[in-house]
């Protein structure tokens, strides 16, 4: 018994240690506003490539020099963890004032009431400089919850030597391949060079580790929508011929024509690069920023080019969905106008062009898109600029329940479909039938 009575006393040093640590740290907590009225804004940036981080820090420095009363503190975040990090800090009321993220995250955060509607704060100059289609990516239930500032189309990165050997027409944004031409070209590029019955070069490698976004975004080129708003204002799923044209083509290339390797189905974009450099694949449909990886990793003498994705025909044939990178303001921020002023500063045309170059992305600003460096032919910059006008909001944006539909229904369904497990009818049943139940739950 005596021992039992003494046990709590024995634990006292530990408790005391924790309490003293708490008190110690409590003395040095950060404060956004200093005593002399100076404001400090926290800017969570997800820039990660050196050139891009440098550009961000340089702009923050410039701002701080010009605005001694409204200082900005650069805080480094990470794309892989930003959602959980933000969700926790929103719930805890400790979110950064200015938040760098992408448009897909904004739906949940805006509907959760964590972000400021920027409508009353945005300067007219910034509003006018970014096209309406880009603003649509951050508009949710009439409010604007982020400034879309960098965007990324999907392009074809191609081995130009193989294209020349096959003597195929090199497409441009003005005269792109149609999807049918692309299929034919892929066949011409697919080669069994040593005649051993095995393909040495595939026309294209579809990296389909994340099949849903890619399939949906590309289906805009054939008039596909996937999510349509009903007369009651609720989102409905649709998977008709327009929505299924590109997925069916990919499935044909992988399972029937064999112009695309089945191994690509489990690959992320970066995984396909070694095969591309080794001549295993002639073309890669990849996001625009992959050009930097290609430039860094390509062996000496490897000649590559950037082509627009094929067209579905008509005026919107080059359309594809994008989810731009965005800059938002936390609803708990005490200095909303100052935060938006800083965002506007970052989005001055010359600054936005700097940031875009650093990340190998396209700026959304019409004036930044005219920057000579962004229009260089080298490394395919000009191809990106040429397709910029065709970029549309990704069908995934603004859909509550999209993340659950994607994870539980669409990803396994697309994966099995591309694997040849079933046809387009079964894919439609799963996407629309199973998906309806999820969407209904979010739209009650």
């Amino acid at each position: 018994m005596t021992g039992a009575k003494r046990a709590p006393r024995a634990a006292l040093p530990g408790v005391a240690a924790i309490v003293s640590l708490s008190l110690l740290a409590g003395c040095g907590g950060p404060s956004p506003d200093t005593a002399d009225g100076e404001v400090t804004l926290e800017f969570l940036s997800l820039a990660w490539q050196k050139q891009s981080v440098d550009a961000n820090k340089r702009l923050v420095r410039q701002w701080n020099q010009a605005h001694p009363d409204v200082r900005v503190r650069y805080v480094q975040g990470s794309w892989t963890t930003v959602h959980d990090q933000l969700l926790t800090s929103f719930e805890g009321g400790e979110a950064p004032d200015i938040i760098h993220d992408d448009a897909t995250d904004l739906t949940d955060f805006a509907s959760g009431g964590y972000l400021t509607d920027l409508t009353p704060y945005l300067p007219e100059e910034l509003r006018a400089d970014i096209p309406r289609t880009a603003w649509q990516t951050t508009t949710y239930q009439g409010g604007v919850y982020g400034v879309p500032f960098l965007q990324e189309p999907r392009v074809l990165i191609a081995n130009i030597a193989l294209l020349r050997q096959a003597d195929v027409r090199i497409p441009t944004a003005r005269h792109p391949w149609t999807w049918a031409e692309f299929e034919t070209v892929s066949k011409e590029l697919t080669r069994d060079r040593n005649h051993d019955g095995r393909t040495d070069t595939y026309g294209v490698a579809w990296s389909l580790k994340e099949p849903v976004t890619q399939s949906m975004n590309l289906s805009l080129s054939t008039g596909g929508k996937v999510f349509v708003k009903g007369p009651d204002g609720k989102n409905r799923l649709r998977f008709g011929p327009a929505e299924s044209a590109v997925p069916r083509l990919i499935q044909r290339q992988v399972n029937e024509d064999r112009t695309a390797p089945t191994t690509g189905l489990g690959m992320a974009g970066a995984d396909t690069l070694p095969g591309f450099f080794a001549g295993r694949y002639a073309m890669l449909p990849l996001n625009f920023s992959y050009r930097q990886q290609v430039r860094q990793q390509a062996p000496d003498g490897f000649d590559w080019t950037v082509l627009p994705m094929p067209s579905g025909g008509g005026a919107d044939g080059l359309a594809q969905g994008v989810a731009p990178q965005t800059l938002s303001v936390a609803r708990d921020s005490g200095h909303k106008q100052a935060a938006v002023d800083f965002i506007a500063f970052l989005n001055r045309a010359d600054h936005q062009a700097d940031l875009a170059r650093g990340d190998w992305l396209l700026p959304t600003s019409a004036r930044a898109l005219k920057d000579p460096a962004i229009n260089a032919r080298r490394y395919g910059w000009k191809t990106g600029v040429d397709v910029a006008a065709a970029l549309r909001p990704s069908p995934a944006l603004g859909i509550r329940g999209y993340a659950e539909w994607k994870d539980k229904v669409a990803t396994p369904a697309y994966q099995q479909f591309y694997n040849g497990a079933f046809g387009v009818g079964e894919l439609r049943d799963r996407l629309v039938g199973d998906g309806r139940r999820i969407l209904d739950r979010y739209q009650r």
């Binding site: 046990a7 530990g14 990660w48 805080v75 926790t88 992408d102 690069l273 080794a278 990793q297």
Partner: protein, 289 residues
């Protein structure tokens, strides 16, 4: 029985040699298996960007260079982050073990239904996913002004490590013969004296093992550090490593490998320094002077 002849000494020796060789071979294979990720990481950290993009990766870098290490140091404040991690992990390990020793002693020596319930609760508490506790924890720490503070993270790690440390130490304490404590009591030693002079020296291997566990857990922990620390000057190594990752699985692979090698070294050094104590301390001090 008549047909069964006992093996000759030469046969016995041959069998013994074969058995020993087999054991060493199996051990060697196991070590290679365990060391492979580390060796591959080391090799990757010395490869050029071009080599990293090769379809046929080589075991050894063709043209080894320090470029990835240089790039990693240029891109991120690795030394500062390592120092933060060291302070956090070492302090958390020391405090959690110091806190756990008396509690584990009480639980090991004074069995009651409360002790049994406590023991089960310790196990259950290890099953909570981080994401479940992070928001309430965040709010508690916010009220204590411990968000974005190294001390706050240490406090979290102490609390997080404590149950398992208690569990581990309890087992080690139970292994110490009660008769030694009774002998100390006969000599007039009180409980604290018995704990300090008799039990603790015998507990050295257990303390070292628990320290190692707590240190490595805190060193590698990512999620709490990510959510609780905002300022670049406070961030730990595990958080800094994610800054080499971009969108859609794109990574700055060379510098990431270099930074990961650096992040692995302190744990290895810590193990190397303490592992002697782990095996050497057994029964030290058990002899009554």
């Amino acid at each position: 029985m008549t047909g069964a002849s006992s093996p000759t000494p030469a046969k016995v020796r041959a069998l013994r040699i074969a058995g020993g060789t087999g054991q060493y071979l199996a051990l060697g294979c196991y070590l290679v298996f365990l060391a492979f990720p580390l060796l591959w990481l080391l090799s990757t950290s010395f490869k050029s960007t071009r080599e990293l993009g090769s379809l046929h990766p080589s075991w050894l870098p063709e043209d080894p260079s320090w470029d990835n290490y240089r790039a990693a140091f240029e891109a991120q404040p690795l030394l500062h982050a390592a120092l933060n991690s060291l302070v956090v992990a070492a302090t958390a390990a020391l405090v959690s073990v110091a806190t756990a020793v008396p509690a584990a002693y009480a639980m090991a020596r004074h069995r009651s239904w409360a002790g049994r319930v406590g023991t089960v609760w310790i196990l259950v508490s290890q099953m909570f996913p981080f994401i479940l506790v992070i928001i309430p924890l965040f709010l508690v720490l916010k009220n204590l002004h411990l968000i974005d503070s190294i001390a706050g993270l240490i406090a979290v790690y102490v609390v997080w490590n404590l149950p398992f440390s208690l569990w581990m130490l309890q087992g080690y304490i139970k292994a110490v013969p009660r008769s030694l404590e009774e002998a100390a009591a006969v000599d007039g030693a009180g409980r604290l004296r018995t704990l300090g002079s008799v039990v603790l020296p015998l507990l050295a291997p257990g303390l070292v093992a628990t320290l190692m566990f707590s240190f490595v857990t805190a060193w590698n922990e990512f999620f709490f550090a990510l959510v609780l620390l905002k300022s670049p000057e406070n961030q730990t190594m595990s958080v800094i490593l994610t800054h080499f990752l971009g969108t859609e699985g794109v990574a700055d692979l060379g510098p990431l490998a270099a930074a990961s090698v650096l992040a692995t070294l302190p744990s290895l050094v810590f193990f190397a320094l303490l592992q002697r104590r782990l095996v050497g301390g057994m029964l030290a001090g058990a002899v009554k002077a």
